[in-house]
Symmetry: C2
Subunit: 216 residues, 2 copies
DNA sequence: CATATTTTTTGAACGTGTTCAAAAACGGAT
DNA sequence: ATCCGTTTTTGAACACGTTCAAAAAATATG
């Protein structure tokens, strides 16, 4: 029971190495060696390399919240607020740009604990979904209730897709990603009034329901 | 030069095994053994396991075209035609449902030849993009020229996202995926007239341009 | 035909993530 | 203090994708 220290030691070294060397360059053996521990011992605390990456994932999401939450107090415009959350998220990822593909590949596998829709990712996921919920509820503009309930989850998925785009974005400083975000927000706000039209609202709700089933 | 036979032998056995056993269960060693060839020899013809999967990818896209092309002759309605291409694509994938995640994970890695946006995937990609182009040009409804030029590529990306959704879809017979497709098509046709409004068309074009940069 | 060169094939090796039986350290009850 | 059960740690092993030098086979050249 005393050796939750060992766990922390391994965790800390792994996360530092992930940040500095990336996913594939960080080997379970190097982690164990740097921690002064046997390879098998690392596996005693973390059943999988991906479980270690998940610790990083959670930490990044916590930083995301810490960065976005104060900024949300500065505006009550919906698009601005959504932009704050999206942008703060991308900023957290910036340091990982070079190794993004390695992390990404691991996250897409539906059987991996790392997958954002997995039960193991629930803590990290709920942070981001919560941020989008805050962005919506604190805004001057409001959505129809049924859509508002489904929207945070849909926005979270949109955020994941944006991250996917970002990891493929080879434009300087990933400007295309921010451009895509801005255009998307513009279109979203332009379409906002339409969501009150019953003929639009109903199909959109159905769409959101289907989208919601990913990562329920 | 004579032994392009060996290549075909390995290729054939690998593809059959991929179909029957999936991606991870099909091992380079089992392929080599079944082909009566040494492990190193398989690598002489295919520098990577993923290069073998790519052969499967191409074959599936060819089947996609073979299935969709004749059906396209039966209607000139845009939504119907798009639905034909999307649905035919999903039908080709159906046999792989159980192993989809394995293939998928390999395809998302931007550094993999398997990635749909890679140069190596160009033959397979151009088939699908071409199908969407055919669906558009043969339709009664027309798009503004600037959007029409960008749309096939965007639809191809939408198709990839639908495949991603499909691979996560745990509803019986993946009904959710077809529902999502139908709802999406409904919304697309409903939004079609809007694309002629200059205030909508311009931002949409910008969006499509950004989207186009993935897999240029 | 004999020899040189190129193409094909082999088999052993490497480093990876992961597993596991057994050893060691630890902690509480006698 | 000693024993017993649990927790922690170890080190060797496995299967995998991949690499590579060298052997073998095929082919070209004299």
């Amino acid at each position: 029971m005393k050796s939750a220290q060992t766990r922390e030691l391994i965790r800390g070294i792994a996360l530092r190495s992930f940040r500095e060397q990336g996913f594939e360059a960080t080997t379970m053996r190097t982690i164990a060696t740097q921690a002064g521990v046997s390879l098998g011992n690392a596996y005693y605390y973390f059943p999988t390399k991906n479980h270690l990456v998940q610790e990083l994932y959670l930490e990044v999401q916590q930083a995301h919240r810490a960065a976005a939450a104060p900024l949300l107090a500065t505006s009550d415009d919906l698009a601005t607020r959504l932009g704050i959350v999206f942008r703060a998220g991308l900023e957290q990822l910036a340091p990982f740009r070079d190794y993004a593909s390695g992390f990404l590949t691991a996250m897409v596998d539906p059987n991996s604990p790392l997958n954002p829709t997995s039960p193991e990712s629930e803590p990290a996921r709920s942070i981001t979904v919560g941020l989008f919920r805050d962005a919506l509820t604190g805004a001057r503009q409001t959505l129809p209730k049924d859509l508002g309930a489904r929207m945070p989850h849909a926005l979270w998925l949109a955020y994941l897709l944006l991250c996917l785009y970002w990891s493929y974005d080879r434009s300087p400083e990933q400007r295309n990603t921010t451009r895509l975000l801005e255009q998307g927000l513009r279109l979203f706000t332009a379409a906002l009034p339409l969501l009150r039209v019953p003929g639009v609202r109903a199909p959109v709700r159905k769409l959101l329901d289907l989208v919601a089933e990913v990562g329920a």
